[in-house]
Amino acid sequence: MPTLHSSPHESSGTARSTVVALEADKPPVSFSRFAELQTWRMLGLVTAIAVMFAIFNFLTGGLFFTPRNLSNLSVQTSVTALLTVGMTWLMVARQIDLSGGALIALLGVMVAKCQATFGWPLGATLAAALALGLLVGLVQGFIITRLAIPAFIATLAAFSYLRGAAFIASDGMTIAGLGDGFSMIANTNVPVVVSVVVFLFAGAIVATRKVMSWMKAENKRKTRPVDVVATVVFVLCTLVGAWAFGAYRGIPSPVVAFLVVIGAATFVANNTAFGRHIYAIGANPEAARRVGINVKGMLMALFVLSSLLATLGALIQTSRLDAGSPGTAEFLALDAISASVIGGTSLFGGRGTVAGSALGALLMSTIANGLSIMGTNTYWQLVTTGALLVAALTIDRVTNRGEQA
């Protein structure tokens, strides 16, 4: 590593020789060792999921790794994964939102009443749900950024008053029978042929682009092992997806929603000023303010985004169940936090990716789904989630020595 400090041998040299190390004439390397480490960690998470798949498939006598169960698993993951996207960005920016599950419960009850009790048209119900989600996000953002109430306290309060409002609005009852139109939201599938083509096309595009990049003369010696492994793993995942959704009904609409959201969020995080500023705020909010980033405005936007993603999650959940229940999604916000941490998001801000968090959500759903098929007592899911969190943080500590988890 070049250094700005002169070595004893250089002390009598020119200014240039004191500053420039021996590698001065080499161009800067084009890959980031740090980014590579992050990718290796994510590949480790994929490996953990694959191992869980194998274990549960063995323990359930082949019932786990079937197209039907993989399709169910992907749908079960989708609501948590949607909430996890908002949670990851908030945690990266040193914030948190404990109210996502309660908001889903309130919105579920509200849309169920609009549809089943008041008989509103579908469009009006969706508009009302979006308006309520937006309002909750704005109120949270206002309380946290303008009244300077810590996010933990403000959203803990919302966790309580939103859940309470859900029980009051429904008299503590589950409201069912939302109608065919509403139930189509989460119970529609992309046609089988299209689903297979989409997955195979995605795998082929990524593989072709990568291979062409590696074949370029100037890159021939620069191909990084992690890049090759990640590409192979991605292509394998697309093949599994094509097989599972090709053999069982096509891609379910909730999965389309979370894949689109995760893809868009990953793009925004890496390629837009908004995305990079989230990470800047998480690392050093004062530095972000000094360079002119509107920190309060950004945080307000993140809380609104988090609430809107919870709204989308609520619509999917209510549509799937064809009912709005005030007691639903009780631990969902905690699940989203757990998934984010398992996926590599730092509790202290500045680090985390939505793709990693989505993998964390998938790992948690895999364990819940596998235990459920085995007929294990559901309380074991809580125990395994806790153990998983401790394991994830321990691995994080070991691989991130010197940094905060």
Binding site: M1, A15, P28, R33, N271, G292
Partner: protein, 255 residues
């Protein structure tokens, strides 16, 4: 107010409740001039700089940048005025890479499919050019700055300040994390800035840095400007005496 001045401060004060951090500070910095600010710890130098940089708002008084009185006190507005500051704590984001830190808040963008996306290639190229200007070679521009040494981090903060040809660069202890020899290219750069139409306001505990680079030096004591010295007519010893309050003010109107 004069158009010939990059900065003109008139009776600036800063109060934190009952405590007066800055009292009636009046000073100016010409275009193409390097002006040093010396003083003991707690004298108010950093507060003064943060006021010019817009991160601290003056309680009373007037501040003119390029002859225009400042009405909006915010870091974003001040950067638009062409004023940049290298903070003593560097104000870097450890998780962002070298070029992201240099262009933070002013990232070049491309329009792709109706969307504004970051122009990573341009940022990388310009970061390379800026580092070349400072005669610094880094092994990687894409690793986070947490991987860099203290001196290298200081250079990144300086690159951020000079990246957009500012009218004024404020430097708070720019050589604090550098060895004397490693600070030499930086001193050379500071001396070159006036020829590129950039004025410099510099605070340093290394009095030799102030004497080596600046045209004039203001001495700050207990939140007030207590002396003004022409660098060509002073020595480190004389500067120390002025800081200790052992000399009569050279310019009577300052106190």
């Amino acid at each position: 107010m004069s158009k010939n001045l990059a900065v003109e401060a008139r009776k600036l004060t800063k109060n934190y409740h009952a405590i007066q951090a800055i009292a009636d500070a009046t000073f100016n910095i010409g275009h193409a001039e390097i002006v040093g600010f010396a003083g003991d710890n707690g004298a108010g130098k950093s507060t003064l700089m943060k006021m010019v940089a817009g991160s601290v708002q003056a309680s009373t008084g007037q501040l003119f940048i390029d002859g225009v009185e400042r009405k909006v006190w915010s870091p974003a507005a001040v950067r638009d005025e062409g004023v940049e500051m290298v903070y003593q704590d560097l104000a870097l984001c450890d998780n962002l890479n070298v070029y992201e830190n240099i262009f933070l808040g002013r990232e070049p963008k491309l329009r792709k499919g109706g969307m504004l996306v970051l122009d990573h290639a341009t940022m990388r190229k310009r970061a390379h050019e800026l580092l070349d200007r400072l005669q610094v070679h880094l092994k990687s521009l894409v690793d986070p700055v947490s991987c860099l040494s203290g001196g290298q981090r200081q250079i990144i903060a300086i690159c951020r300040a000079i990246a957009f040809s500012p009218k004024l660069v404020i430097m708070d202890e720019p050589t604090a994390a550098l060895s004397v020899s490693a600070g030499r290219p930086l001193m050379d750069l500071i001396r070159r800035l006036p020829s590129e139409s950039t004025a410099v306001m510099i605070v340093s505990h290394r009095l030799s840095d102030l004497i080596e680079t600046s045209n004039r030096i203001y001495v700050v004591g207990r939140g007030a400007m207590v002396n003004e010295l022409k660098t060509s007519e002073t020595t480190e010893h004389a500067l120390l005496r002025a800081m200790a309050g052992l000399d009569e003010p050279v310019t009577g109107e300052l106190v």
